[in-house]
């Protein structure tokens, strides 16, 4: 749901500046998992980050929280570079940034009770103790739709959806204002996915949260996000508001991605023209030169192999990285063959 109708420009909560995360595999081999991402996440919005496996979306999410150390670049939280803070200051700031993981089975300590799991951050950040902490844990469980009777139970006694709720309660324990939700619904059944999406949306409104919502599921992303950023082989290739990116994708990869999503309507499916891409996502170890998408792009021309496209504001608040389009000719179908208006 859009909350961006306020007349004043919304404040940037988290600013990502030319962030790079490179993993050295030895033997001169390097994975550029995140390769120069710049992105503003606005206070109160849900920014959806979508891409296929290996595109670097989870690494980006982790690097924003410094759970993975970036190779270079900056992450500013309320204009403060977290990397420059130390000790007490860092601890104090860090609690405002939390994460929810994909696999609710692997991310909870099986030897801790629900009460301990949710209460641990309260202790770590010295926010509450004893009776007060217990009270707080009970409130948190209720907030995420779990009975406070569960407090002494262990994770294995719960279903996937309930475990995800426990993970959410734990993230909320420290009153964060920014949460990275890394594929929070991917491991869940359809009926449970809807419950978790609604819960996250409710919490966002009630607690003024800001989300970076990472998913490969475009239908979910379209539903929960205000804006969507599309990632391919370590780079952002398109950013626009959620509706626009679905109705009017500009970058050829986004077009293919959107058209590949099955729509739960047989009549629509029967008449749909799908762009089926050739081949696989190239290995991030040896990414293609120039535009990383040129090996699969139906519109690629020779110059695409050489020039790395930058994100350009093609339409108001709609950015795309493709040299074959420009603000004057935003739709690639209208571009004369063999030309690259983005280079002019």
């Amino acid at each position: 749901m859009s909350s961006q109708s306020t007349p004043n420009a919304p404040e940037t909560l988290v600013a990502i500046r030319d962030l790079k995360v490179h993993f050295n595999l030895g033997h001169d081999r390097m994975v550029k998992a995140v390769d120069g991402v710049t992105l503003d996440i606005l206070a109160g919005e849900t920014l959806g980050l979508v891409g296929e496996s290996g595109c670097g979306k989870s690494t980006l999410g982790r690097a924003v929280l410094r759970l993975t150390e970036p190779t270079s670049g900056q992450v500013l939280y309320r204009n403060q570079d977290l990397a420059r803070l130390s000790g007490k200051q860092l601890r104090e700031q860090r609690r405002h940034l939390q994460i929810i993981f994909q696999d609710p089975y692997a991310s909870l300590n099986p030897r801790m009770t629900v009460g301990q799991i949710v209460g641990e951050p309260l202790e770590t950040f010295r926010l509450a103790r004893g009776r007060e902490a217990e009270q707080r844990v009970q409130e948190l469980l209720e907030t995420v739709g779990l009975s406070k009777r569960f407090i002494k139970r262990y994770p294995h006694e719960f279903s996937g959806g309930q475990r995800q709720r426990i993970g959410i309660a734990r993230a909320l324990a420290v009153d964060p204002d920014f949460i990275v939700a890394d594929e929070p619904i991917s491991a869940l059944d359809v009926s449970i996915q809807a419950q978790i999406m609604n819960l996250l949306e409710k919490l966002r409104r009630e607690k003024n949260l800001t989300y970076l919502f990472i998913s490969h599921d475009l239908r979910a992303i379209r539903h929960v996000s205000d804006r969507v950023a599309v990632m391919y082989l370590g780079r952002l290739v398109e950013i626009a508001d959620a509706k626009t990116i679905y109705v009017e994708p500009l970058m050829p990869y986004t077009k293919a991605l959107i058209s590949a999503v099955p729509v739960p309507d047989p009549e629509v499916e029967a008449t749909r023209q799908r762009i089926v891409l050739e081949g696989d996502v190239p290995s991030p170890i040896n990414p293609p030169s120039g535009c990383p998408f040129h090996t699969r792009c139906p519109y690629a021309i020779d110059v695409c192999k050489e020039v790395v496209p930058q994100l350009v504001e093609i339409k108001p608040a709609h950015y795309a990285a493709c040299i074959r389009i420009s603000p004057a000719v935003p739709h690639i179908e209208d571009v004369p063959p063999g030309t690259a208006p983005g280079l002019d």
């Binding site: 749901m1 859009s2 296929e52 496996s53 279903s159 959806g161 309930q162 059944d189 359809v190 009926s191 449970i192 996915q193 809807a194 419950q195 999406m197 609604n198 949306e201 490969h216 475009l218 239908r219 979910a220 379209r222 539903h223 929960v224 959620a242 509706k243 679905y246 293919a256 991605l257 959107i258 058209s259 590949a260 999503v261 099955p262 729509v263 739960p264 309507d265 047989p266 009549e267 629509v268 499916e269 029967a270 749909r272 799908r274 089926v276 891409l277 081949g279 696989d280 996502v281």
Partner: protein
């Protein structure tokens, strides 16, 4: 005669938690050349149904407790094991969700494909090899002749699934069972694989059973759908009919809980609660606790399987009312 007719199939498992009736008295049929979708959430019994059809239920703890699986009129459940082995792979082929665990990691791709036709079609090595190459080309493996000598780990997930499809189709089976074939794949690769299954189906006339949790995949790929819940068929209908006028509250809830990318954002419909523990089902309808229109009778009596039209059935005390509502809503 239908290609496949499943009658009152029951598959039970003995667990520490008691007897689990994973599939509990389901019946359906599949005509030649058609695709049947089986939808359900985890634990609904959709995979067990298909493992039962090809007699791959691990016994113990499982056992097929009753029913018939008529394949071209012949009951697979009462055939000797040797006869079933001849059908499996030859006339009924399967592909599974994770191609890595279904391929032998120590064996060259070509060898694995060759085994199929050497065993089932009596091919010589040379014939089998040429056939393997042709199949790899058919499923779109680039440079098939060179890549046939690779090992599975040298292929990407999408390519491995193509190899699985090549293997499954190498003996021109009459029935292909695909259990979540694209769930582990990225969406652009999923589109490739689904497109491939469609094209090959048209070419060979193979019937397909497609098991999936993704209603979008069902909408695009199938002629008929079965919706399973707690080991039962809750609804079955032609695909168009099921999406247009569902006659069961569970199906309706499922359809409404998938975000529609073409609609405006807003609160998503959610089915409350959790799927039931199949080992401890209460009397009455297994969905009653989560159902918004459940009444007292639903908690007391097991619902009837109501015929809404000759090829549309729903397991619900209020099937007719739900169906009429759907039809009217569609008209409005």
């Amino acid at each position: 005669m239908s290609l496949l007719e499943v009658k009152n199939l029951r598959t039970y498992f003995n667990t520490d938690d008691g007897l689990v009736k994973a599939v509990d008295g389901i019946s359906f049929q599949l005509e030649r050349g058609e695709t049947l979708g089986i939808v359900g959430e985890s634990g609904s019994g959709k995979s067990v149904t298909n493992l039962s059809i090809i007699r791959l239920i691990p016994e113990p703890p499982g056992r097929i407790a009753g029913g018939e699986v008529l394949f071209n009129g012949e009951d697979i459940l009462s055939l000797p094991a040797e006869a079933v082995r001849k059908i499996r792979g030859r006339r009924i082929a399967m592909i599974f969700q994770d191609p890595m665990t279904s391929l032998n990691p120590f064996m060259k791709i070509s060898k694995q494909l060759m085994e199929m036709t050497e065993l089932h079609l009596g091919h010589t090595k040379a014939q089998a090899y040429e056939h393997a190459i042709r199949m790899l080309e058919t499923v779109g493996i680039p440079d098939a002749r060179a890549r046939a000598n690779s090992y599975p780990h040298e292929f990407s997930g999408g390519m491995r699934q193509r190899v699985m499809i090549a293997m499954a189709l190498s003996c021109e089976p009459e029935l292909l069972i695909a259990d979540e074939p694209t769930t582990a794949l990225d969406v652009t690769i999923q589109a490739q694989i689904l497109e491939l299954i469609k094209t090959l189906k048209q070419k060979t006339g193979t019937s397909v059973i497609l098991i999936t949790h993704d209603l979008g995949v069902v909408a695009g790929m199938t002629d008929h759908v079965i919706v399973m819940y707690a080991g039962k068929i809750f609804e079955q209908a032609r695909t168009k009919e099921l999406f247009a006028s569902p006659g069961n509250p569970y199906t309706k809830g499922l359809l409404r809980s998938v975000p529609d990318p073409t609609a405006e954002q807003g609160k998503l419909y959610q089915i409350p609660g959790l799927p039931p523990d199949v080992a401890h089902l209460k009397p009455g309808c297994p969905f009653a606790d989560r159902c918004e229109r459940a009444e007292e009778i639903c908690r007391r009596e097991f619902p009837p399987f109501v015929e809404l039209t000759p090829d549309h059935h729903s397991l619900c005390h209020f099937a007719n009312e739900v169906y009429v509502e759907s039809v009217n809503a569609k008209r409005a």
